[in-house]
Subunit: 153 residues, 2 copies
Amino acid sequence: MTTHLDESLYRIEQVAARTGLTKRTLRYYEEIGLLAAPSRTDGNYRLYTEADVARLERICQLKEALGLTLAELTDFIAMEEARDEIRTTFAESADPHERLVQLDRADAIAQQQLVLVDKKLATLQATRVALLERLARYERHRADITDHLPAQP
Amino acid sequence: MTTHLDESLYRIEQVAARTGLTKRTLRYYEEIGLLAAPSRTDGNYRLYTEADVARLERICQLKEALGLTLAELTDFIAMEEARDEIRTTFAESADPHERLVQLDRADAIAQQQLVLVDKKLATLQATRVALLERLARYERHRADITDHLPAQP
DNA sequence: CTTAACCTTTACGTCAACGTTAATGTGTGC
DNA sequence: GCACACATTAACGTTGACGTAAAGGTTAAG
């Protein structure tokens, strides 16, 4: 169970404001299964929970940083959130061999994701270094120029 | 000048094979100005240089890692390759004040790019740590299960 | 009880980043 | 010199990720 269950519910526009996404995008994410369909009011209005907002923020973050398609993101996030289920639903249930098989499956996926992340990290770090070097060069250049510019009232 | 000028030229299919892109994509990148139009044979076949291939590989890498649009990539790469020009074309030409202005412009762009890269790096590193923790948990789980599985002929 | 500001679904529009086909020209091994 | 594999441009098609407009239901304020 989550630690302090937050009962607050938000309508779509509030969620849009908080996440920076549009209402259309929220409905779209629900449509393609990236975000679970939230509960509804009697009048059929969507009611998002704090957890929904958190997931949406995570989605934005990963979309930004990993540049995955929404389909890939769906898998990636599903994976991230599968943690609890493995602990509870699964941990005390099936026979040990079945549990090992499931563990191996989850493990393989996580390793794939790690490879992906590490690859991007390598490129990004190299790019970062290149940018820092460039900025340092600019700084030296600037110094060179201003050094040879003596007169200024 | 480059160090050992490589004269080898490649036709589109060879470049496609080497980069993993399609021929269509190569023409498309040329069309939108992401890749400079290569030279042609008498029969109007494209002839790519080793430098073109290198740039294409860099394009793929950055597209993968940064998840930018092709338009953004165009700017980003143009920036990366602007280094030489700043050294040669520009360094000894205009008046010092103009040079400082240009330096500032280039500097600002590089700093923007650095911010971008750093933001993605932060998310990726956090994600990486989370993945490692997950894998460690799996490992512990596995150990727990196999420990409590004594009998096996 | 009405009205304005929300919400709903449905459906067509759009833009980037290509894929695919067609009609045509080129270069090469026999 | 003739297949046949490879190239060209032009043009239309597709997919993902939404935008936008239409036609209506819902809810809070006066």
